[in-house]
């Protein structure tokens, strides 16, 4: 492998055929996801409707275009956002356990969501996205503010993120105790769900998520410099603090958007980056596009499970991501260790 890289130059640090394969997988699982549901829709009719020809009509058309399609696209967006920001956080903090919720984003979003839910009763989706988005971004901003100039030491930021997260969770728990009727909605939101996906959620979240991912991919070469020590990366012409700042800001924007659209879906941010790195044996951040594609595909499949396994009832998607993700992740970890030794 080493000799091959040498022969073909630095451009071959990443094998783009893998990326193309992952894009194909995403396309296939996306097609599968919009083909299944309680109402039977013919595959030919689905294809015709999607390319604008005369296909489905009336209620069936609504089911495809307004229920299944936005939900599938939202799952893909959220999966891409969580996987990509997870990978970036792991690089920035040089910590394989870092996930997108690390800097207080989960606690902050949870607090925001709980405030929205306890004040809106059964009409849960009115203010929830905005409040959880604000909660997540404010929590991360607070973590930054507290760690201040000590940001040069990523662990300080990490610890202040944990403190801010716990603080927000404490208030959240207090609110839940005071409003027992909010327990179930909050619990469900914590496990994540895409039940109320619609085009307006898809359109605003795609703007934030896609632009954040674009920023992260554009700095992916420089991010590799953070894998070295700060002195070494500085000698490569990289300002590690500035780079970390941009990376964390973009990853946080993507995470906060994902969280506000679908709740706290766990494990995607950890399992997907490690999966891609484990299977390809490469740690470079040039895999970011691939990681986002795999994250998207993973969540599309998980959501198909969430709405099919107990059909016609829903299962929280976080249950599936962890239930499928954890054993698969362990499997990859193990095979990887064996090949290394």
């Amino acid at each position: 492998m080493f000799s091959k890289n040498r022969r073909e130059g630095i451009g071959e640090i990443w094998n783009w055929q893998i990326t193309a394969t992952c894009a194909l997988i995403l396309f296939i699982v996306g097609a599968l996801a919009i083909s299944f549901g309680p109402i039977h829709l013919g595959i030919a009719d689905i294809a015709k409707t999607l390319i604008g020809m005369d296909g489905l009509h009336g209620q069936e058309r609504t089911v495809l275009l307004d229920l299944r399609l936005p939900r599938m696209i939202l799952a893909a967006l959220v999966g891409a956002a969580l996987a990509t920001s997870g990978a970036v956080y792991q690089t920035v903090f040089r910590n394989p356990l870092a996930d997108p919720y690390l800097l207080g984003a989960a606690g902050g979003a949870g607090l925001g969501a709980t405030i929205a839910i306890t004040n809106s009763g059964g009409n849960i989706y009115g203010w929830l996205p905005i409040f959880s988005f604000l909660g997540a971004t404010l929590a991360v901003a607070t973590s930054f503010f507290i760690s201040g100039r000590f940001f040069a030491e990523p662990n300080t930021l990490l610890l202040s993120g944990i403190a801010v997260g716990s603080f927000a969770t404490a208030i959240q728990t207090y609110l839940q105790q005071r409003h027992s009727n909010a327990l179930r909605p909050v619990y469900n939101w914590i496990l994540g769900e895409l039940t109320v996906a619609n085009w307006s959620i898809v359109s605003w979240s795609s703007v934030y998520i896609l632009s954040s991912i674009a920023v992260l991919i554009s700095i992916s070469k420089k991010l590799d410099g953070l894998l070295l020590s700060d002195e070494e990366s500085f000698s490569l012409g990289i300002d590690p603090n500035r780079l970390r700042m941009i990376a964390v800001a973009a990853a946080t924007l993507a995470t906060a958007t994902a969280v506000s659209a679908s709740g706290l879906i766990g494990f995607v941010g950890i399992v997907v980056p490690h999966l891609v790195r484990g299977i390809t044996h490469r740690v470079t951040n040039r895999s970011l596009l691939t990681i986002s594609l795999v994250g998207a595909a993973f969540l599309v499949v998980a959501d198909l499970g969430a709405r099919s396994l107990l059909s016609p009832a829903e299962l929280p998607i976080g249950v599936i991501t962890a239930f499928v993700g954890a054993p698969f992740f362990l499997f990859v970890l193990r095979t990887r260790r064996i090949t290394h030794s």
């Binding site: 109402i39 229920l67 059964g122 709405r307």
Partner: protein, 306 residues
Amino acid sequence: MFKKDHIDRPVWVSPVASFVMVLSLFTGQALSQQPAFAALASLASLASQTPHKIISLSPSATEDLFAIGAGPQVIAVDQLSNYPATAPISHLDAFTPNVEAIAAYKPDLVILNSGATKAASIKSALQKLKIKVYFESAPTDMTGAYKEIAELGALTGRGTQSQKLIRSMQNSIKKVITSARKKTSISIYHELDDTLYSVTSETFIGKVYKDFNLLNVADAAAKADSYGYPQLTPEYLVQANPALIFLSDAQYGTSAASIAARPGWSTMKAVANNHVVALPEDIPSRWGPRLVDFYQFIAKSILGVN
């Protein structure tokens, strides 16, 4: 019976009661059958047993107590017990009860819901303080609701009144069902919140719908939740096409107009024919005397829906 387990018992009761008990031990049953002694014995047992400082930590039990005439014996009710208006509402929390706050009222009976946080340990803590506890578990059907009324009646010395209330409830509900029950079933959807949580026919409220021969669309998902509260997928609801929708989230802003805006819902039978009913706030979740009102409300709502 005459153990020292009631701190608020008048001091004279114990010696008198012991005297009666000792006497009856020596003389067999004969003495206690003497009218004067029997009256004394029942007075003693009444004074020691009938609670007159009751705390109700259950809105349903509060309604029961006042309906059977035990209202004057109630000294405090939890902050959600808003009916009847004369109930002595307090800051006590039924969901996270505080033993010390309860004990400060010096109650002789506390009605505690088994769904409260750490209910079992709250119960034993209160019992350690020599406070009697009635452990209420949410009934799953009318039989359970009647049983609670009967038990509260027996506990508070209002046995006759509670039996009378039960009989009148049974008669009224029977009358409502006979006149309003659907000959051919119609399909209904009961919405708990806008994430499409619903109730199956296994739940209390589901059984009320069943009494009217209504077909509950959530029953298809009955296996998903062992307590009968599944979350339905949006696509299934569009497919199920209910003829009537009950909104228990109307108090939070969900309305016929807001559900018509959901993708695929405007063509739903219930929405197209404007058969979307906002449920009243408390009645559907109070398993007490106002269940009659709830039955009447449902009867009115299904009138003319086919």
